[in-house]
Symmetry: C2
Subunit: 459 residues, 2 copies
């Protein structure tokens, strides 16, 4: 340990309980990165786990005084390296601040600390007849603070929108340790610039979220699903367009391509027919879901579905959705390593996105499976490769970039819900251009003049 | 005209058609202010009405070169003075940029210029089976650009949210004339800080919105309404809490207090019984609105409603809602002038807000009618006074401030949907505190280093 670290540890320990300051090298190494592939991570000087707002303020005051970078973390389930440590940094893990402070059925809000796990909040509000929609696939592990930092989405977004739409107000500890409250606990409010929304998706680069007021919905009826099999992705995409154009509001509208179907079949013997090129899953949580499914089933048939299988009950629905839930695990099994892209295009361009991705897979001689939040046009092309094979790894990385380029060409965005982190920094600049980057840097400078908050992320 | 103005006019005219540069004093005077009471307005040097993005860029480059303030305007239906001119400014009216550029039923978006009138957009998208929810009461006149600038709301918000939730992306001309694109035309996207949302509600202080990508919903069934009469506001508020706690999702949930009911009765002979202290209006645009109304009617009765009148059809619903639509006009007729407040509280505190407002009216010897977007907790206490009476005017202004103080005490915000402008500048600082104001000023400085964009508004 060098002298700088000793001073840092001494100063931190001045305002933190002993068990909140972790310096064991193995522990620190396990907190060095999130779940992204191809993202460098440095070695932290210390991992701190505060339990109170005051402790977070102490940490940030110390970091400012000593000019030490701070990397905030939730459960590190992110997929863009936004939570990766930099050398000599303080890793600020919020997982011990995990209290649900309030649930109000009349005001339809919850007030939570950032370390609350998404699923824990979902279950707690369910007990009050309420619903917190955002459901990233890591929902059993990921934290609300992480969801806010990365602006995460999930399967529900096609009907219920993303995390951003559920954050009403925040308490934030700024880089210099001052506490700022943004937003409100009311249903509406327009007092000044929307700083709350500015923090959502800011990946810990503007301040540390220590408390959030979240909007809740009434719990909807359990959803009922159908699966529709198609002989081509073009036919499946035509069905998606017809469903959305027809004014339907599914609670889930997911697509799996042939590669993904095959991977799931290989792993779990789901018995999907080999001729299936695309599987569409639709669900409704309306008052009469069977009627909605019947209408959507007809649109699928009219678009050329080879088979349409509506579930009769909730248990059958869950079985149908199981194939989608297994997709990433199944694709991981193909080659050992996956790189998950997150390109979102206008849903009218979904067919072009899928065609283009198939061409890119062929060009690079790679297996790329696509599952998509199809109703949102949000695709997750997943490159399967052997990380021990340098040439295949290089091709994986190149194809990944080409997929983002294709997304931009089609009027889309490089990230629908996973964020920028370190993985997509160069691509952020391409998407938003030099003027946008200049303004973003200006905002960063306002909140973090010393540049100590999660440096090297975003831009 | 002084020399400075001559130079300004010459430079502006260099890049604008002659009919886009207005200097007639009467015309300029009519463009000097919006519809807010008690807000000073200066005398503009010129009113410009560009028709293209390039013309807006020319105007901003000229303003930057000559350091002349620019006040952007839509239809000037705002209620906080945000569109009021300052002395010697360029009034930049966007009303001639009024084209709907695209409507896509598959992508559920519209792309519009800022001068499109809200009602024109609503009708245009209706023809495609789509719905643009935000419906401020000025919807037949107000523009989308103005709606974005002030983050306006309306009657629909209890179910459909506010303008902010429908703005996906923007083209913005910055203070120095550069063009910046924010956001996206996809359903989801998290690439960098949310600059789109930062512009919504920024009251023209960060840049000039010249194009917007708006999200649309499928057109819902026509709504069916009921009216419930209560002998006390407390009982009406209890019903509101029960309705929301019960998981109902009305498309409208409005409250009128006794003063408002009396004003409407006096003006339009609606024949509401004199004993009615509060009138609650609820509507549903669901698949089975009659069933929803029956359930809500029972909750009203359980809370002590003296009468519950459900409409049988759309025409009857419109008749019931007529009373609410006439409220402001009727309150204006009471004393000749009104001052409309816009305090939003957690809906669980609505009864306290109404009680407190009644106490404030009594304390100042004033008539204050309240109509409220009750489902959102968004109240519009409307102070009726004679503007020719200096003492009554002073009391009106003092009561107005006291109502905002009450809103903050109850955990609310000083503005639910009307914005800050010049009317509530001091109160913005009280609501968000010095750290928040400092950060807001920093953001302003980033976008508008010379301070020429709508100076003197917000903070």
């Amino acid at each position: 340990m060098n002298g700088g670290s000793e001073v840092l540890l001494a100063r931190l320990s001045d305002g933190l309980p002993a068990d909140a300051v972790l310096t064991d090298p193995d522990v620190m190494s396990s907190y060095a990165h999130d779940m992204a592939s191809f993202c460098d991570a440095g070695a932290p000087a210390v991992v701190v786990m505060p339990r109170t707002v005051e402790e977070v303020q102490h940490i940030m005051r110390t970091a400012t005084a000593l000019r030490v970078p701070v990397v905030p973390q939730g459960a590190r389930t992110g997929l863009s390296g936004a939570a990766n440590a930099s050398d000599g940094c303080i890793v600020l893990s919020l997982i011990k601040m995990d209290r649900i402070l309030e649930i109000s059925p009349v005001d339809r809000i919850a007030v939570v600390e950032p370390g609350v796990v998404n699923a824990a909040l979902s279950r707690a509000v369910n007990e009050h007849g309420l619903y917190y929609p955002p459901d990233p696939s890591s929902w059993e592990e990921c934290t609300i603070g992480g969801n806010i930092g990365t602006a995460s989405g999930g399967l529900c977004c096609v009907k219920y929108g993303v995390t951003a739409e559920y954050v009403l107000g925040l308490d934030v500890v700024l880089a210099d340790g001052r506490l700022m409250t943004t937003g409100r606990r009311t249903a509406k409010g327009v007092a000044g610039y929307d700083l709350t929304r500015l923090f959502v998706g800011s990946e810990g680069s503007l301040g540390i979220v220590v408390r959030a007021v979240l909007a809740l919905k009434p719990e909807p009826p359990a959803q009922l699903a159908l699966a529709a099999e198609f002989g081509s992705t073009a036919a499946a995409c035509e069905a998606i367009c017809k469903i959305m154009e027809g004014g339907h509001v599914p609670s889930l509208l997911e697509l799996m391509d042939r590669t993904t179907i095959k991977a799931v079949n290989d792993m779990a013997q789901m018995g999907l027919p080999d001729s299936t090129e695309a599987l569409l899953l639709a669900a409704f949580d309306t008052a009469d879901p069977a009627a909605d499914l019947a209408a959507v089933g007809e649109l699928c048939a009219a678009s050329g579905a080879t088979d349409v299988v509506p579930a009769d009950d909730h248990a059958e629905s869950e079985l149908l959705l199981q194939a989608r839930r297994l997709s990433l695990t199944a694709l991981e099994a193909v080659k050992g390593t996956t790189m998950i892209d997150d390109v979102c295009v206008p849903r009218s361009r979904l067919a072009d996105m899928l065609d283009g991705t198939a061409r890119i897979a062929e060009k690079y001689g790679l297996t790329i499976g696509v599952c998509a939040h199809a109703g949102d046009g949000n695709t997750h092309p997943t490159v399967c490769f052997d990380a021990q094979d340098p040439d295949e790894s290089r091709r994986a990385r190149e194809s990944f970039d080409e997929i983002m380029g294709l997304g931009l060409e089609l009027g889309g965005t490089i990230t629908g819900e996973h964020g920028v982190g370190v993985l997509k920094k160069e691509w952020l600049a391409r998407e938003i251009g030099p003027v946008g980057i200049e303004m973003q840097r200006g905002i960063k400078q306002t909140f973090d003049p010393l540049g100590i908050l999660n440096p090297g992320k975003l831009f």
